[in-house]
Symmetry: C2
Subunit: 221 residues, 2 copies
């Protein structure tokens, strides 16, 4: 928005379901782009438009974000961030082994830590009216805690998961943020401090303000 020409273009919700809290997956991509100093344009899409053929040509599952750069079109926040991190300095270490380990944390965030968190998050919407809902919530919380026990043990008193801040931390911080309001992360002081460290980064703040401006209707720039 406000940029012109050949900048990469991402998509985001026209009507933010979280009212600008920055929990939608475009926030992850915005943060990554801010970390590497790459300006970008945003195209907002409505829930209706997301399910139409034009958007599905970009995203087969009818979701956001997408990423367009010249004739390249990508979807999946993990893939987009890895692409950005591989093309620009700032999100992955130079050393090949350290780089592979940072990428491992991206996958761990998306395939090991996030799925039980999504289950917990979506249950009130999907099954909140079912008679079993109240009984299932503690079971789902236990599954999340199982992952957080291990994550907290591995992080220990380090600042980031493996050396310097990386795309793996970016992804993990964003995944943990989805637990806001549950009080679960607060039971792990080192994870709570880890999330706060992520949120204190200038690039995070710029990304957060930009996505929030979509909700408030103000220009971030």
């Amino acid at each position: 928005m406000g940029h012109s020409g050949t900048l990469p273009v991402i998509t985001a919700f026209e009507a933010s379901p979280d009212e600008g809290q920055g929990l939608a997956r475009d926030m992850r991509v915005r943060w990554a782009l801010e970390e590497v100093g790459q300006p970008y344009d945003v195209r907002l899409v409505s829930f209706q438009a997301m399910k139409k053929p034009a958007h599905r040509a970009l995203h087969p599952f009818g979701q956001i974000p997408t990423y367009e750069e010249g004739d390249l079109a990508l979807f999946e926040s993990g893939a987009i961030i890895l692409h950005v991190a591989q093309r620009h300095a700032g999100l992955l270490p130079q050393d090949a082994n350290a780089r592979a380990r940072a990428i491992t944390w991206m996958f761990a965030a998306l395939n090991t830590v996030e799925p039980p968190i999504v289950e917990l998050e979506q249950a009130p919407y999907a099954e909140g009216d079912k008679p079993w809902h109240a009984q299932r919530m503690p079971l789902m919380e236990d599954r999340v805690r199982l992952r957080l026990d291990d994550l907290s043990a591995r992080l220990g008193d380090a600042h980031w998961l493996d050396g310097a801040f990386s795309a793996g931390d970016l992804m993990m911080v964003m995944v943990l943020r989805r637990l806001e309001g549950t009080g679960i992360v607060e039971d792990y002081p080192n994870l709570a401090a880890y999330v706060a460290r992520g949120q204190a980064r200038p690039a995070y703040r710029r990304a957060f303000d930009a996505q929030r401006a979509v909700f408030t209707g103000k220009k971030a720039e």
Copy 2:
């Protein structure tokens, strides 16, 4: 097993919970290594040993597979396969854009398609004794079908998801295989044919036989 010296080493279940059906995540890594022609060693771990500090040093979440190569240690099947695919020809296209799209399908398999499949798969173990279990099963099946509707529409009558066979297809085929026995994939003839195409690859067969040999107690070689 049976190799010596400097080969990469992966871990796999000592006692295969699926009795050699090749549904554990070491099968994905074995398949990738076979596709690129990289021999490997396997260290089998018991369920007890998986949760002990020595294994957790390799895998913070106490799971398999892990991957060790010289002084590099990785976990997460997605990260391991991406590492293998980036170091060897055979799993990712040479063209940079096509490469980024193939990696996108890896993330789509792991973060968009697999999570509802894991939910459906684990429910009988985790909640099979609960009064709500029978009523929840169709809800979970619907969530899987939502993803498969979109995936089937995108695949159409193509052989693979984006041009030639890639690590993205490898991962998606393995994720869809987790639905075996549910009859769901069979409702999408193009997806059933896609899975069968993956399983017909010589590298798949070699990997399958190797993991099956752990269960039957026979040497694959």
